[in-house]
């Protein structure tokens, strides 16, 4: 009997926490489970409980988002917020999120990468907030970068995009782009020209890049001129910069076999196979760069907090211009979207807006991990002050309009995850020397085009 009493007591104790009095009348789909509610102050009975989630990269980001949640909790009337840090990229944030949506336990507002918007929208997992946006005088799609907003306002039923398309799938949290993180100690030791000066003089081309890479590679068998991770972002820029790309212009078919795409891929292949200047493809180059053994490390702004801990002289430079005259950079982005099953869409929309104000974005950008998604000179000027790196302008050059960056985007006419699963291994085959560029070009779109019919 005592055992039963003890178990029952524990069970009842498990129902809540000292700091929590979740509203009894809150609907099941969005009410605050006692677990997360422990992180918040006890809400007033009439408050609506809203849970939200991002994918932070480190504890510092978690702390900042937690503080933002606390601040907004005080500012938003009638809403009680609970912030849930999601798993990291390696922990399959989206897989877990989708499983929670299927189980009906997902948060009201959550962040997803730009490539996943179509998948979530076409499955009916996220809310089309067009009506809410139309009823919000302060909201304008023009306040944000055009690339992300094209995809976030794309209406798959009409094929229209923009303010009047009848679709608003979310609001971009931030943007980012690639730059080359430079180990200046290695570059100076090799006597190679300073890439920052070459870029300033308009001489930062593929040939100049290869020259620096080869000179630094000559420093030793364990020193590499260039390093990049093995996913679509790094290899995509070489295709973009030569005038090619993954998809046709209307994003309805594979364009990996165009002469321009193949030329870009061939140049990247030569970095690995002919000139042997790159860290082995498929190996994570970040530890090698941080160990001081890579001269030019291609990565996004999100790598900055980690690179700040290295003990050599470093800076960043924009990507080199390719045959097309641009660097072919990406405009990476992710968005806050609203759970289609939320019981409180108005409050969720209010939160999504509050999370993307210039003030909130400024707090997050101060960490150095990303760039505000609002187009404003004030935001850009503010970003330049978040040093090191000294040459923050390199990132802004990457997303500048004249650099013509390609916005990371979903595939409304097909399945992006499936396309990625076909493209990634095939490109890896080329870059590791297992497949020739010609063979790749001959067969890749036969297979990749199938994802557009799914």
């Amino acid at each position: 009997m005592i055992s039963v009493l003890v178990i029952a007591s524990f069970a009842l104790a498990a129902c809540g926490s000292p700091a929590t009095e979740a509203p009894v009348e809150a609907p099941a789909a969005t009410e605050v489970p006692a677990t997360e509610a422990a992180m918040t102050e006890a809400p007033a009975m009439e408050d609506v409980a809203i849970r939200w989630r991002t994918r932070p990269d480190n504890q510092e980001e978690i702390d900042v988002y937690s503080q933002i949640s606390t601040d907004l909790d005080g500012e938003l009337d009638g809403i009680t917020l609970t912030y849930e840090p999601g798993g990291s990229e390696g922990a399959n944030y989206q897989d877990q999120l989708k499983a929670e949506i299927a189980a009906g336990t997902a948060p009201d507002v959550f962040w997803i990468p730009g490539t996943d918007v179509a998948d979530f929208a076409t499955r009916g997992l996220i809310l089309n907030a067009a009506d809410l946006a139309a009823a919000t005088p302060d909201f304008s799609v023009d306040d944000f970068y055009a690339g992300p907003m094209f995809h976030l306002t794309y209406n798959p039923e009409t094929g229209a995009a923009g303010a009047d398309s009848g679709a608003v799938w979310g609001i971009p949290r931030d943007v980012s782009t690639f730059a080359l993180y430079l180990n200046m100690d290695l570059i100076n030791e090799a006597g190679a020209p300073d890439p920052r000066e070459l870029a300033a003089n308009g001489e930062w081309t593929w040939d100049a890049f290869l020259d620096v890479a080869q000179k630094t590679r000559a420093l030793g068998s364990d020193i590499y001129g260039y390093g990049a991770s093995a996913w679509w972002g790094p290899y995509g820029v070489w295709l973009n910069a030569s005038g090619g790309g993954f998809f046709t212009e209307d994003r309805s078919a594979c364009a990996l076999n165009t002469p321009e795409s193949l030329a870009g891929l061939d140049f990247q292949r030569s970095l690995y196979q002919d000139y042997d200047v790159a860290t082995p493809y498929g190996e994570d180059p970040e530890p090698t760069f941080r160990a001081g053994k890579v001269a030019m490390f291609q990565n996004g702004r999100w790598a900055t907090p980690g690179v700040r801990t290295v003990d050599f002289e470093w800076d960043v430079v924009q990507l080199p211009d390719g045959p097309s005259g641009t660097a072919g950079n990406w405009l990476f982005w992710g968005a806050y979207v609203i759970n289609a099953n939320t019981e409180h869409p108005e409050e969720a929309w209010a939160l999504a807006q509050a999370l993307t104000t210039a003030q909130t974005q400024g707090k997050i950008a101060a960490l150095g991990a990303n760039i505000p998604s609002r187009v404003s000179q004030e935001a850009l000027d503010s970003f330049l002050t978040f040093t090191p790196p000294a040459n923050n302008q390199a990132f802004l050059n990457g997303i500048a309009a004249d650099a013509n960056p390609t916005a990371e985007g979903p595939l409304w006419a097909g399945s992006w995850p499936e396309f990625d699963k076909v493209m990634g291994p095939a490109i890896q085959g080329v870059l590791t020397g297992a497949t020739t560029v010609d063979d790749f070009g001959t067969t890749i779109c036969d297979e990749a085009n199938k994802v557009f019919t799914q």
Binding site: C15, G90, N92, A99, R123, G124, G282, P287, K421, T442
Partner: protein, 558 residues
């Protein structure tokens, strides 16, 4: 309970109520099943849920009706049926009440506040210690409680009460009651009370006597009662999902929307393959198969000709190929070294227990942690494995003025070595556990056999070959079977170690990984279920072959 005594009026009344209750329950269950299909009850539930609920309700209704009849005939089977039906309904209502009260998700909240209550659990421990003292220093009164024992009890109760207060039991109770005040909560609590009362009624000794229950009937019921937690767990968490996945394998379920029946389409896609003759080794697949349907999986070249193997789902066949290759290497590498090691460790030398523990440690370490450590070790540029290879080559080159080229193996980024890297981790991790199993087998071999062999002049190898191996056959069979099944389901090491998990050129995509990708990344749950059943058939077939070989070669059979 073998003698039949007259039934007391109270029991008679309770039996009448029970018959009415059983009849009412029969009608309610049947009505529930009907309302489910008319759309009055749970209108949005998918077909598979409706089928499960209908089967449950109809079964409950039929048995409850039979129970009512049997109770009216004063037959013991009426009591047994009543107890089983009410027990299951009682459990369902309790679980429903706890779920509605959010007890299960609140466990995390308890974890957050648990540490703050630990000092009060210390008071409970102090109370227990007082009780122990009382046992060591008993006072003179034999038949009455000592003051120390009373104090122990009150201290424990007080400490536990303070602990519950500290961890938030008051808030928890209020929250729980608030949740139960909702309609669904009230229904579930009412169910708990009604089914509980019915159980109590049927459980009474007087009721049992009135229904002519015998001792063996009671024993059977008690047996099932003790078995029920495990049995219910098996049915709900294993058999249930198994049946569901079989159903889903015939649908296009995506976990979000109502699935549609697609018949054998998922299986047909998996098994849709083509073999085509190639007139030259580099002839394109599109020249010999319909490339809109099939993708090239591989080609077998014989001189200037060859055979192309294409499939509608090439990833499945690549995964099957990789999984079988993994099994082919991982199983021998997990079993043979373990067999050798167990023979080494099966000695009386001092320190052997320490080494047994050391070799067993990888088996109990978390796979994720191990894989992350190996990921660093395998790093081609800054990993320790390549570092030591380079040191070794430099040493020999310097010592003998050789020119051995450092291979700088790209363990996880080269398609030729990626699967091998996973095999090495799996073998390293499994070997310790298999060693312990072999050790247990070795220690069961009678020492007289070895003594007799020694007298006959047998050497160490003869003893191992003619005594150890045959006598270990049952253990070896068990080890090989379980290691094979485990290897066929390889997932964690690949998922953590490789980035992307499919590895370079899909060289590490395995069946379970592909199943996960289909089910939880692409959310083709129906298709993933079909893959799971095909995997089951493959594993079942392999295990069957092992069983047959074991029967033929077993020393005990012969």
């Amino acid at each position: 309970m073998t003698t039949h005594l007259p039934t007391d009026p109270r029991t008679e009344n309770l039996l009448r109520i029970s018959i009415i209750w059983r009849g009412l329950f029969t009608l309610l269950s049947a009505a529930g099943a009907i309302f489910l299909w008319t759309g009055t009850l749970l209108p949005d539930s998918p077909l598979w849920q409706k089928i499960i609920i209908t089967v449950t309700l109809v079964t409950a209704s039929v048995f409850s009706g039979i129970g009512a009849v049997q109770i009216s005939r004063r037959n013991h089977s009426g009591r047994m049926i009543s107890l089983v039906v009410d027990y299951l309904a009682f459990v369902i209502c309790v679980v429903a009440a706890l779920t509605i009260g959010e007890v299960f998700i609140g466990i995390d909240a308890l974890a957050e506040t648990f540490t703050s209550g630990l000092p009060y659990l210390g008071i409970v421990a102090l109370g227990y210690f007082l009780g122990v003292l009382d046992e060591y220093f008993p006072q003179k009164q034999q038949n009455s409680e000592t003051s120390l024992k009373v104090a122990s009890r009150w201290v424990m109760l007080g400490g536990f009460a303070l602990f519950l207060l500290q961890v938030g039991a008051i808030n928890g109770i209020l929250y729980f009651l608030g949740k139960l005040a909702q309609p669904a909560g009230i229904v579930s609590v009412t169910g708990v009370v009604i089914f509980g009362l019915s159980l109590w009624t049927m459980g009474r000794a007087a009721t049992a006597q009135a229904l002519h229950v015998k001792t063996n009937h009671e024993q059977i019921l008690n047996g099932w009662l003790f078995l029920s937690p495990n049995l219910l767990g098996f049915l709900i968490f294993f058999a249930g999902p198994l049946v569901l996945s079989f159903y889903f394998s015939f649908t296009d379920s995506d976990a979000f929307n109502t699935p549609s029946w697609v018949g054998f389409a998922n299986y047909a896609k998996i098994l849709n393959v083509r073999f085509a003759l190639l007139t030259s080794p580099d002839q394109l697949a599109r020249d010999v198969v319909n490339i809109k349907v099939y993708d090239e999986v591989g080609r077998f070249i014989f001189g200037n000709r060859g055979i192309l193997f294409a499939a509608a789902d090439k990833f499945f066949w690549l995964a099957l190929r990789n999984t079988l290759t993994f099994v082919l290497f991982a199983v021998p590498l997990s079993v043979i070294p373990a067999l050798i090691l167990s023979n080494v460790l099966n000695s009386k030398l001092p320190g052997m227990k320490f080494y047994r523990a050391i070799y067993f440690m990888p088996s109990i370490a978390a796979v994720v942690g191990i894989s992350l450590v190996w990921q660093w070790l395998y790093n081609a540029t800054v990993g320790y494995i390549n570092y030591f290879i380079t040191l070794g080559i430099d040493f020999w080159n310097n010592l003998f003025n050789l020119a051995i080229v450092d291979p700088k193996i790209q363990w996880v980024s080269d398609e030729k070595t990626a699967l091998l890297a996973v095999v090495l981790i799996a073998a390293w991790q499994t070997m310790g556990f298999n060693t312990v199993l072999f050790l247990a087998g070795l220690q069961n071999i009678p020492g007289e056999l070895y003594e007799a062999a020694t007298v006959d002049g047998a050497g160490a190898w003869d003893k191992f070959w003619s005594i150890t191996l045959p006598m270990l056959a049952p253990t070896t069979f068990y080890v090989v079977s379980t290691t094979t099944i485990q290897a066929m389901q390889v997932f964690e090491q690949v998922f953590i170690l490789m980035n992307p998990a499919e590895g370079p050129n899909n060289s590490t995509i395995t069946l379970v990984l592909y199943l996960y990708r289909s089910g939880f990344q692409n959310f083709q749950q129906g298709y993933a279920s079909a893959i799971a059943w095909v995997l089951f058939i493959v594993i079942f077939g392999l295990t069957l072959i092992q069983f047959q070989r074991q029967r033929k070669s077993s020393i005990y059979e012969s």
